[in-house]
């Protein structure tokens, strides 16, 4: 999918998310709980795992859990600490939510600001907490600026870095953090979360499969796109091949005019060949992303499916590099049809 999920679209209205409310991350949270119980919680934590599986939610919930006096390692949701942490106005819990608008990376100024905010003595009797979301977007300078704080944060401080792609972080950062990995959720859990957000229904399973165990991704996917456009694209793809060059060119034209952002459309096409590949390799047991359209899957050899997947992903890359949309699509469709 696209490089970064549209987090704002999925951001729920501020409400208390407790550690117990984070679904499917029992292993990671259990690890944190045991460390907390033994008073051995590290001062620098790195939460890694796929986008949208609850890393940031866990980091925020951990802040609540460490600060709520009413319900330790949980949250009462009503005390001053809970209310202000959720509202983002607790002086001892500060969050860098990601790159500033209009920027692609987390600038050193944001790190300095966090350090300044954490540079005061704690107002509460609990550790100060600094959370850096999307930490892989820290510039190298910003990472270097963070090193000192990671090494010896002033007073009692817990820093939590949240990253999908930990390999983008400098080894000096990685070596200073205790790593906590977050797993993709089982499809059934993702479906349950979609239902809890009022996004259930027949498409929920397909959405969940597309999201690869990431409820956050599933929630930012455009439901309308999945309900209608996905089926349309896949049905047209099957038909376009039979319509000769004109059919392919028309389809390319349609994609260009209908889908402003071609990446979701191409991701759908890639998923089609992925399904074909899985069905060929795994037979009836294969878990398909487009399970609802399984009967229409093309019967392709493994080599052909792989070639088509490569072609589709190559096109996504080419489009990111500003290739001519129409020509690139026609070329892709020709290759897919051959």
């Amino acid at each position: 999918m696209s490089a970064r999920p549209r987090r704002d679209a999925a951001a729920p209205a501020p409400h208390t998310v407790r550690l117990g409310d984070v679904r499917g991350q029992e292993r990671a949270i259990g690890f944190l709980r045991r460390a907390w119980e033994r008073r051995r919680l590290a001062h620098a934590l790195l939460f890694t795992g796929p986008a949208g599986v609850g890393k940031l939610a866990t980091a925020r919930a951990l802040a609540l859990g460490l600060h709520c006096d009413v319900a330790p390692f949980d949250a009462c949701g009503t005390c001053d600490a809970c209310r202000t942490i959720v509202a983002g106005t607790h002086p001892d819990v500060r969050v860098v939510t990601g790159p500033l608008p209009e920027r692609r990376d987390i600038a050193i100024e944001q790190v300095r600001e966090l350090q300044r905010e954490l540079g005061f003595r704690a107002m509460s009797a609990h550790p100060k907490i600094g959370i850096v979301n999307d930490a892989e977007y820290l510039t190298l300078q910003a990472q270097n600026a963070l090193l000192k704080t990671l090494e010896e944060p002033g007073g009692d401080t817990v820093l939590v870095l949240v990253a999908v792609n930990a390999s983008a972080l400098a080894p000096t950062i990685l070596s200073r953090c205790q790593r906590v990995t977050f797993d993709p959720l089982p499809t059934a859990d993702v479906v349950a979360i979609l239902e809890a957000h009022g996004r259930g229904g027949p498409e929920a399973h397909a959405l969940a499969a597309y999201a690869e165990g990431s409820p956050g991704q599933a929630l930012v996917f455009d439901a309308e796109f999945f309900a209608h456009r996905r089926r349309e694209i896949l049905t047209r793809l099957a038909a376009a091949g039979r319509g000769g060059f004109k059919g392919l060119a028309d389809f390319a034209q349609e994609l260009v005019s209908e889908d402003k952002d071609l990446v979701p459309a191409l991701t759908v096409i890639a998923s089609w060949y992925r399904d074909a590949l899985r069905q060929r390799a795994l037979g009836a047991d294969a878990e398909l992303r487009n399970a609802d359209l399984a009967t229409e899957l093309p019967d392709l050899s493994i080599a052909a499916s792989l070639r088509n997947l490569e072609t589709t992903y190559g096109t996504i890359i080419a489009l990111r590099q500003n290739a001519n949309r129409n020509l690139t699509l026609v070329r892709m469709l020709l290759q897919l049809a051959s």
Partner: protein, 372 residues
């Protein structure tokens, strides 16, 4: 909430919140003022999580309650209202009516529950911490004489404030440094003691200075719950303390100097100010050349030119010259209220110089020389 308040009373409170409210607008609620009303008191609170102000106004409250309104907009509205008194009334859906004479405004209140909670200053809290009473004028002067030397280096947070401590009873010190210069002030005040010392943030002291400038008489200064507070009748300014250790400043202050120069502030300030125009933009380096009776202030900048001014001084030692950053000297000479004589103590080209002003034994300003 439904209350009546005199405009002049209310506007004073709102005015004080203006310097404190969050300007960066990252958290909208911090741009708001919290208005709490109970009994016959209206309490206005504003904070940016670093510094806060709380002002109590008298009013008539017919229905108590709490709202938060945009501090700037409310101030502008109230300031312009052609009325002597106001009514604030909260209604359905978070709306608050501001009524003055025939003018009616409706503003949106944000949820007061999101507003940061700041422990109130209570006698109990003060008892648990440290509280002292001192004259507003003395506190303002101590801040004025140190604040300018605070470091703006973001990587050395513990230098980003003024250190305040007592070494013995009935005495209080304030120290600020940025590693190149250090300002130290000490005053004897009966009944005062603060041990161990704490670091007060720059922004908090800027606001404290603002608050104290309009005050006469005594104020209370207290430290409790990791907050420092400055209080005068009805107004409470609080600021968070900076974490970390302040460096041992005592090692830096020279005990004695081999050479002593006495000079009137006015001509020295003027000469430095003018000569600095031609100094290098970056280092602002100027050279002081001493001969018995005269001081030459010199700068040579191959790109632009050179300057020399000569002033009369009280100096009887040998010929000697030393370089300084002109800005560091101008800062201390430019302190408000400094009018008389300045004494500069120097040892050699590489040892720090020490500046005393107006024969004030309790004040020392240490400045590192530059090689020019």
């Amino acid at each position: 909430m439904d209350l009546w308040v005199e405009k002049s009373e209310f506007i004073q409170g709102l005015y004080l919140t203006q310097g404190v409210v969050e300007k960066r607008n990252t958290l909208p609620i911090l741009a708001n003022v919290l208005i709490e009303s109970t009994g016959n008191e209206i309490v206005l609170t504003a904070t940016d999580l670093e510094v806060g102000i709380r002002r109590t106004c008298k009013g008539k409250i017919s229905r108590s309650g709490t709202v938060t309104l945009n501090a700037r907009k409310l101030y502008e509205i109230v300031r312009e209202l052609p009325a002597d008194d106001l009514i604030l009334r909260s209604g359905e859906g978070g709306w608050v009516e501001v009524i003055g004479g025939k003018s009616r405004y409706r503003m949106v209140s944000m949820d007061p529950k999101e507003f940061p909670s700041i422990p109130a200053s209570t006698p109990v809290a003060k008892k648990a911490g440290v509280a002292m009473t001192l004259s507003a004028g003395v506190l303002a002067e101590m801040i004025e004489k140190t604040l300018f030397a605070v470091s703006s280096d973001e990587t050395r947070l513990s230098l980003g404030g003024v250190f305040i401590e007592s070494i013995e009873k009935n005495q209080i010190r304030m120290v600020a440094t940025d590693g190149h210069r250090l300002a130290f002030v000490e005053r004897q005040i009966a009944g005062i003691e603060l041990r161990p010392g704490v670091i007060l943030p720059r922004k908090g002291l800027v606001e404290a200075k603002r608050l104290l400038e309009g005050s006469e008489g005594d104020v209370t200064f207290s430290i409790a719950g990791n907050l420092a507070r400055v209080e005068r009748s009805g107004v409470e300014l609080f600021m968070r303390l900076i974490e970390g250790e302040f460096p041992d400043y005592r090692q830096v202050i020279p005990k004695e100097s081999k050479r002593r120069v006495r000079v009137d502030r006015e001509p020295l300030f003027g000469a430095l100010h003018r000569v600095a125009i031609l100094s290098s933009e970056r280092s602002r380096g100027v050279k002081l050349r001493l001969q018995p009776g005269t001081l030459e202030v010199v700068t040579t900048n191959p790109d632009i030119g050179e300057a020399m001014e000569e002033i009369e001084v009280d100096y009887t030692g040998d010929e000697f010259s030393i370089g300084f950053n002109a800005r560091y000297l101008l800062d201390v000479l430019g302190i408000a209220g400094v009018t008389g004589t300045v004494e500069i103590g120097l040892t050699d080209e590489v040892s720090p110089g020490i500046v005393r002003i107006d024969d004030d034994e309790g004040y020392s300003y240490v400045v590192m020389p530059m090689r020019l």
